[in-house]
């Protein structure tokens, strides 16, 4: 009995350590980041377009970075969602089992490739290609979108496949029994039934894209500017932190934490949204 209690306490402690880490990180980021935001004003921090940590007085406006993150993330969704959802539909509805057993591990492997490798491939292959065949300098919103679009595939595919698999067989049978084709059944019955899970997949893919750093730094050029075309270079919120953290001090350093606060809030909102939608889907 005593032993039982002890084991339970140990397990509780282990479980708490994850929550504890989250708590520590949250407090730390907020404590380091919030003061500088309030000192300069929330409005001028979020919507200021100038980022000049070394000017006198220093100017910390992250708007260009917010736009940058939004642009590459949006682009990643435009590329990743159709491809990912298409693959998920193929795997769950049409592929013979033999094909699935080949595809699934391959997609999991894609998730395991370190992001620096994606960035490296992007620099070696994608940037020259864009430069020569499409225009601009190569490093751009477009390049970031393509690389991130590929990187979110495993997330989008895995969660969409789960959502599609969770649709009861009886719906599909009912549709087939009315003479519907496989595609009509998928499009009009299975996909609407899996809607909530698929939206959750898209949102989680979005979270993954916003949070990605290394690969993005390597292919987007990192200039602090509001992009006017997909071929312009941009800097994302994550890149901003990673690029300057090593030499920043004082208020500059605080401003980088403040950038982290913005990211943190965005990602928290996305996760909450994904959970809420998944819950609504279950209730239906």
């Amino acid at each position: 009995m005593k032993q039982e209690t002890a084991i339970r306490l140990i397990l509780l402690g282990l479980a708490m350590s994850a929550v504890g880490a989250l708590a520590v990180i949250t407090t730390f980021i907020m404590k380091e980041g919030l003061p500088v935001i309030f000192r300069h004003g929330l409005g001028s921090f979020l919507f200021g377009t100038e980022w000049q940590p070394n000017a006198e007085p220093a100017r910390f406006g992250v708007f260009a970075m917010i736009v940058g993150s939004a642009a590459v993330t949006g682009g990643a969704l435009v590329i990743g969602v159709p491809v990912g959802l298409g693959s998920a539909i193929f795997l769950s509805e049409f592929a013979p089992r033999r094909v699935v057993t080949f595809f699934k591990p391959a997609i999991e492997l894609l998730a395991g490739i370190p992001s620096v490798v994606f960035g490296f491939m992007g620099m070696l292959v994608l940037l020259p290609f864009i430069r020569e065949h499409i225009g601009g300098r190569g490093a751009s919103v477009l390049a970031g979108s393509i690389i991130l679009g590929i990187m979110i595939l495993p997330t989008v595919i895995a969660i969409s496949v789960d959502a599609l698999r969770a649709v009861p067989r009886s719906y599909r049978e009912g549709s087939f029994a009315l003479g519907a084709t496989g595609w009509q059944t998928t499009w009009r019955v299975t996909l609407p039934a899996a809607r909530a899970g698929i939206v959750a997949a898209v949102i989680l893919g979005m979270g993954r894209a916003i949070g990605e750093t290394m690969a993005v730094i390597m292919v987007t050029g990192n200039s602090v500017q509001i992009p006017r075309s997909p071929l312009d270079a941009v800097r994302t919120l994550t890149s901003n932190i990673a690029l300057e953290m090593s030499y920043a001090d004082g208020e500059h350093r605080e401003a980088l934490f403040a950038t982290g606060v913005v990211l943190f809030v965005i990602i928290m909102c996305l996760n909450t949204l994904a959970n809420a939608i998944a819950r609504v889907g279950k209730r239906d």
């Binding site: 009886s170 719906y171 009912g174 087939f176 029994a177 009315l178 003479g179 009009r188």
Partner: protein
């Protein structure tokens, strides 16, 4: 109009039907009875080739529909449009009442706009569901009662104007009152449709059907007019089963 000739079926290595032949008469109700696992559902699903969806399923023999073998280069869409199926558990799509009933006409391009609305109404009236749900066509189908859901599934079929209705234990998920209502509906539908029903419930078979087939271990033991089967079966096993002495 529908005839199975020496149908044999395998799920992988398992021989589920061992040469079944039966002739379904138009504008009648044919019941298939037999103990659990004897192949009733499997036989029923041969009539609209739903077994094609099962991986590793193999069928030999012939099923003639209007004289043509449906297993020989027959358009599946056309077949299932004309030979519809109602399942054991009501399985409306998680869509509105209207979208459920309109599903068939829409995918087959039979009607749209006003024509579709009229078709939906007619199909709901045919199952006497119109009075209950006519004023809430946009309500989710899953919010209806079990009996209403089963009626909805039947309406959904009728909307594509089939000739034959296959029903696999359509009342087993319903209470006695709802069962009686659905049985009355079947008798009503018999005037316009040919019905084949699988049932565990021998009273039900006796009450509604004109012909009855008794199956055992993948074989059709006896087939004939319901009255004969229930009062003077020729096979000893049939007699044992209907008098409740079987297994």
């Amino acid at each position: 109009m529908l005839e199975a000739r020496n149908v044999r079926l395998w799920y992988g290595d398992f021989n589920a039907l061992k040469g079944v032949s039966m002739k379904i008469q138009p504008r009648s109700i044919t019941a298939i009875i037999g103990p659990s696992g004897c192949g009733k559902s499997t036989m029923l699903r041969c009539f609209n080739r739903m077994n094609d969806l099962v991986e590793g399923c193999r069928v030999e023999g012939e099923v003639l529909f209007e004289g043509r073998n449906i297993y020989d280069h027959y358009d599946l869409t056309e077949l299932r449009k004309r030979v519809g199926m109602v399942f054991q558990r009501p399985n409306p799509f998680p869509l509105s009442v209207q979208e459920n009933v309109g599903y068939g006409p829409r995918i087959h391009g039979l009607a749209s706009g006003d024509g579709l609305r009229a078709a939906v109404k007619k199909a709901l009236q045919a199952t006497q569901l119109w009075n209950d749900v006519g004023d809430r066509l946009t309500a989710p189908a899953l919010s209806l009662s079990a009996e209403q859901q089963q009626r909805l599934c039947i309406s959904r079929l009728l909307a594509v104007a089939p000739d034959i209705l296959l029903m696999d234990e359509p009342c087993s998920a319903l209470d006695p009152m709802a069962t009686q209502n659905i049985e009355e509906l079947m008798l009503e539908l018999k005037r316009d449709y040919t019905i084949v029903i699988v049932t565990h419930n021998m009273q039900q078979a006796a009450r509604v059907s004109d012909f009855t087939g008794f199956m055992l271990l993948g074989e059709l033991v006896e087939f004939g007019e319901t009255q004969t089967i229930f009062t003077a079966p020729t096979d000893k096993r049939t007699e044992e089963y209907i008098t409740g002495r079987y297994g």
